[in-house]
Symmetry: D2
Subunit: 326 residues, 4 copies
Amino acid sequence: MQLGIIGLGRMGGNIARRLMLNGHETVVFDRNVDFVSTLAAEGAQGVADLQALVAGLQAPRAVWVMLPAGAPTEDTIEALSQLLEAGDVIIDGGNTYYKDDIRRARSLAEKGLKYIDVGTSGGVWGLERGYCMMIGGDADEVLRLDPLFAALAPGYGDIPRTRDRVAEDDRAERGYIHAGPAGSGHFVKMIHNGIEYGMMQAFAEGFDILKTKASENLPEDQRFDLNVADIAEVWRRGSVVSSWLLDLTADALASDPKLDGYSGSVADSGEGRWTIEAAMEQSVPVPVLSNSLFARFRSRQQSTYGDKLLSAMRFGFGGHVETSKK
Amino acid sequence: MQLGIIGLGRMGGNIARRLMLNGHETVVFDRNVDFVSTLAAEGAQGVADLQALVAGLQAPRAVWVMLPAGAPTEDTIEALSQLLEAGDVIIDGGNTYYKDDIRRARSLAEKGLKYIDVGTSGGVWGLERGYCMMIGGDADEVLRLDPLFAALAPGYGDIPRTRDRVAEDDRAERGYIHAGPAGSGHFVKMIHNGIEYGMMQAFAEGFDILKTKASENLPEDQRFDLNVADIAEVWRRGSVVSSWLLDLTADALASDPKLDGYSGSVADSGEGRWTIEAAMEQSVPVPVLSNSLFARFRSRQQSTYGDKLLSAMRFGFGGHVETSKK
Amino acid sequence: MQLGIIGLGRMGGNIARRLMLNGHETVVFDRNVDFVSTLAAEGAQGVADLQALVAGLQAPRAVWVMLPAGAPTEDTIEALSQLLEAGDVIIDGGNTYYKDDIRRARSLAEKGLKYIDVGTSGGVWGLERGYCMMIGGDADEVLRLDPLFAALAPGYGDIPRTRDRVAEDDRAERGYIHAGPAGSGHFVKMIHNGIEYGMMQAFAEGFDILKTKASENLPEDQRFDLNVADIAEVWRRGSVVSSWLLDLTADALASDPKLDGYSGSVADSGEGRWTIEAAMEQSVPVPVLSNSLFARFRSRQQSTYGDKLLSAMRFGFGGHVETSKK
Amino acid sequence: MQLGIIGLGRMGGNIARRLMLNGHETVVFDRNVDFVSTLAAEGAQGVADLQALVAGLQAPRAVWVMLPAGAPTEDTIEALSQLLEAGDVIIDGGNTYYKDDIRRARSLAEKGLKYIDVGTSGGVWGLERGYCMMIGGDADEVLRLDPLFAALAPGYGDIPRTRDRVAEDDRAERGYIHAGPAGSGHFVKMIHNGIEYGMMQAFAEGFDILKTKASENLPEDQRFDLNVADIAEVWRRGSVVSSWLLDLTADALASDPKLDGYSGSVADSGEGRWTIEAAMEQSVPVPVLSNSLFARFRSRQQSTYGDKLLSAMRFGFGGHVETSKK
């Protein structure tokens, strides 16, 4: 099958590669011409602009946009919508807010264009492991594009079957689902990331206690000289917390147990915030997901105005003067 | 009435003063001889050691220990217990863990000594406003000492009566209660401080949003140039959040709206932690009280090992490199 | 001065009354004709529709809309904008989302109409105590309407002056502020309510521990038979947590210490959620404000799907079967 | 090698079985004689009391206690300590509080007895998958017993090696570690369970949002008819949240997507609470771990006293009457 791909960064480039490895044809574009020529050298049809990309595809065309959410994606889809013709489909594989998907799908439908949103998980490992995809949009169109999704997905692999699973639709077991109408793909991916934040923070807090327990600041009779790399390693085998994130933790701690290579300033993308918004809209209590997000906010500041206000109040009622004692 | 007082710091010294202002006699001791001579100059009987303190009191003696919780208080009470005689009473006015009170009361009872724990709120303002006291111990003994408690307490003042209040015991309205047996005074005070942490953190977070909303880092069309000192001031009048902590906030912001005088490294005493322990013992969910405590822990660190682990995992699965962007 | 008031419920009715008590003239409307006639009997000019209200006011007219946020307010302002003329001002005294204020102010300005948003705190007590007001909009227009705001506000009262306060603008000390341009009034009120949620939850958690400590489910040697009404009462005097919310708590516990009259299903209005959204927009960590909101969400459910999933996982890895044991 | 095992429940019985499968000899005891005879039929030497168990082992004896933490374990170890002789070792494989381990190790050492604490993860799956073990105690003694630990552990399996891992000690890769001195094994296991709570709660909250998004209570245009079983399934393949807990979630949702078989009353064992205590001792902020625990507390109550107090305050300041509206 043929797919146009716009945006050849870490994700888009490997998506093109994995499709080509599986016998599909790609027409690729990026503002960075080096990215285009690299992929052209690997067999893709590189093009110099959107017009050429559209021209290089047979109708009904499918164009995968793999760009940062927000303006870059929005502008590109707007531009594409001027170039494509009725029956063509735009696939947004990025991290778009699901309400933007719903809006776009409606707007593009007026021009006879189709819109599919794909929440794509897999990061830098997707080329090798395959991409886990959560797809929103028209069911028939998703089926029409199935060869592409099947090629990108991890497939059954050697993962044990889920006990009691009886389902007509085996796509989930091959690593992708049709979640529902436009927006639902990114909605499910958004929640995925929300959970991811929570799991990461659970590990972060637990390892923080372990590391602190080994701290030389503790009196010797309260200290355990724990080997955090070994702990991560052993939990990978037979423990309840075994997980891919733990595998990555073990990787990181094997080479840098003190994590001196990191400052601890942790970014967050939109999904964590949108997850909290969705929870609030639906009145679902999410203390863990929200505190995981807030821990990231806090990690990026040295001290907060709020902390200073606490100090000011303590001075006010008790004459407490700040000390540097931990 | 006559009271021995050990520990003449911010709290103990003013307790002596307020008692003397109300016509009571005090025999006072502190390791710091300057503190003793200052109070002696104000009318107290200053003494040089515990023996002299005990000798200066008529039986049945009452000795108020106003020292930091933990070893200073524990050691002093142990020493006192060797010097006092059956029928005497030791009053711990500090921030002792209530389980230590229970243990001590039992142990002192074996020697015929009485023990009373007093959770004392009022900080540096107590001399003027009076001390709010939560008292644990034998009911009769608490009654016997009532003249002292009544003198230390704020009294009715001009605070409006609570609607529908019908109670035989009017001590609560005069600012002190007999909470129950030994330990209950400090238990109630401990919860008071837990709530205090939560209220303070609520203000801290709210004012942090207000201050950040006025930040020059925000695009101009998203910014409000808010006057936080005026906001604290206006809320003191007729708003739902009016409170003494808000009064103190208004004080602080009136003189230093940016709070540049504070680093934001916020200490915590034992009560916040013990409150969480009590909640866990009783299976009571306390997300706000615990997060208030954790915010203080966090305020005293520049970055945590946990934060670094988050960065390491993000690099592991997505190749995300830390940036300093907030 | 003359003011039109639309919406004569708990808030709007008393606003009219307090203005009339201070010598102002009101022209009032409500869909509920009984509300109108009640106020007419107290001296207001009651009218039957918006047209009559506008006709009853001299230009430049000022109309205070005191309706539920969302559609009721939105529709009324839209209708008013058709009836008013350039130079008139619409005041939204409800709990509108501040971004709606910004939008409306822009849109009304195109017609030459002015828009002022007033965050109003004071609840059922406002008639007597006065209303604490946070006002957004054009500074000159806010000044022009000052006689109205001054009448509604609590005034200096007998509240002690804030130490070190030096400010040209004494309105804050009289209970109202001009916070900034359109939207800023409701923004400040929104944060006020966010803080209010946090303070309330701090009290809720603390009293929950106190009450549980007195529970007959606890072994006798771990129990304190605490009097929660007395505890609330005593904290009103000289303690750090003294506050209006504590006064209300003391009121409630004086008449119903077990709170049997309440089911514990706690509603939330928009401000709590919007506060979290604002915090997320500004990357401010707000664990206490958010957990206070989530506690309310949780209070309205008997059990959550999430809780069931926890049980399912526990059964999955450990064979743990649910029991009813607390 | 030879091992005595006391406690033949879900864990102890399978530990005996896995050891026998690997050629070791077991002498087994349980108060429930049926458990003993069942294992005897599978090749263990069943005994009727502790004396017989000790008599059935050659010195230096090793006895594994696999009982509920607290009194059952404590009393058994006390009894054993009377029967064993210098050089023998007691292994506590349960979920004991690590400070109890430290105390016991000291006390037993006075009698020449050794003590090893083993945090054991693996639940009902351990027989098949092997047990992940975190071991505290004397290094030499742990080495002496290595054949037993090696047999119980999962072994290398087909789990990919951790990148960059260079370690002399390959036990971690075979599923067990010597964490340090007495108590450290249970300390590490305790943190493991703390993390487990956090990860579980992250999934619980995420799936709660997904399920609620599919709720018929939502207006149709805000609803997605999501298939939660498919979502869990697809995330098992290539997504960042893939984990054993997700596998179990997929199992549970495959057979009961609405989770109607569960009430959602979620128990907690000591480790979650002790993790918070450890964090507080070390001043480590743990919002996610603590909120996970509190969610469990909350799951076991229909409404809290705290919730009722919120309602009472809302009625107090705003006249808000509780409604059942969600």
